[in-house]
Point group: C2
Chain length 159, copies 2
DNA sequence: CCCTTATCCGACCTGTGGGGTAGGATTTCT
DNA sequence: AGAAATCCTACCCCACAGGTCGGATAAGGG
């Protein structure tokens, strides 16, 4: 298994926010209470709180405290890359322990200090890393929202 | 983190076997004792035994028991896809718990029984899965062996 | 002003699996 | 016979995923 349920739950949370934001106009709609998302997705509220905290720190959602508060997408779904979402939830995307992303697209293996022998595998992980990030960066939240709306058409979101 | 060290160690093991096999002629060379691989890669022998057992079950390596025994690649490195190696070591490549690969390229999400709502994320994981398998299937062991030989040229393999 | 509703925050708990060890049985070569 | 290797099973440790709990803080409504 590659990603944990953190990523799954967090993505489902984002999709839910995206669906309720309607077409644009996110700032004017009421913020969505986490409890309503938890109910709709059948996920534990207190666990979602931890996840949404990471999304907020990554400035992917904004929060409104107090009664009638809740969460909103920080920007339109079409401008949110899933790469950012998954990274916020799971931490840096490294196919292996020894891998850090140093700069945009540049990858470093910590075994290089041992002499390159340890990292015959570097070529492979680099390619895998590229494949994953490409798939994640090439998918926006809007893509998922649209997909979700199509496939769950018979049970539209309440609003 | 996506893959565990099982994949890393196992791949390094395979690369080591590939390097020692020379150019083709794998069947005629002496088999490689696991202890020599463990020494060269500075990995615990007893742990490698577990990994190589999986590789043998997947028919990626063959073994020779007894004194002067050891392991060989089951076929030329150029005919070994890294997808098979990683799958043998880590099990099925699923970006998420709820994901099974049903048939070549076809993927199923176990949440579908709950109604599709749970899997707004299906589109995303499908793309990620595709990115990973494409990267793994498109890389052969021979690619890694060549890469390793180039980058560790100043410390050639003993033989 | 207080009550309700919500976000926020940190401590805590529990099971699973990664990562590794240990010991011995078996096979084959010298 | 004995050394050198694979093979096999059982076991151990602990970090972390996955989740709970209690409470602090903030805002709106009567």
């Amino acid at each position: 298994m590659l990603f944990s349920t953190k990523a799954e739950y967090g993505v489902r949370l984002m999709v839910e926010l995206g669906r309720r934001a309607g077409d644009g106009l996110a700032d004017e709609a009421d913020p969505v209470a986490l409890s309503s998302v938890a109910e709709a997705e059948i996920l534990p509220l207190s666990y979602l709180e931890h996840l949404v905290a990471k999304l907020r720190q990554a400035e992917l959602v904004t929060s409104v405290r107090g009664a009638h508060g809740g969460y909103r997408l920080a920007r339109p779904a079409s401008q949110i890359q899933m790469l950012d979402v998954v990274q916020a939830l799971e931490g840096p995307i490294a196919p292996m322990e020894c891998f850090h992303e140093v700069r945009e697209g540049r990858v470093l293996c910590s075994h290089e200090a041992d002499g390159d022998r340890a990292c015959a595998t570097k070529l492979l992980w680099t390619r895998v890393h590229g494949g994953i990030t490409k798939a994640l960066a090439g998918t926006t939240l809007a893509d998922l929202v649209e997909f979700a709306d199509q496939h769950a058409a018979r049970e539209p979101v309440a609003g």
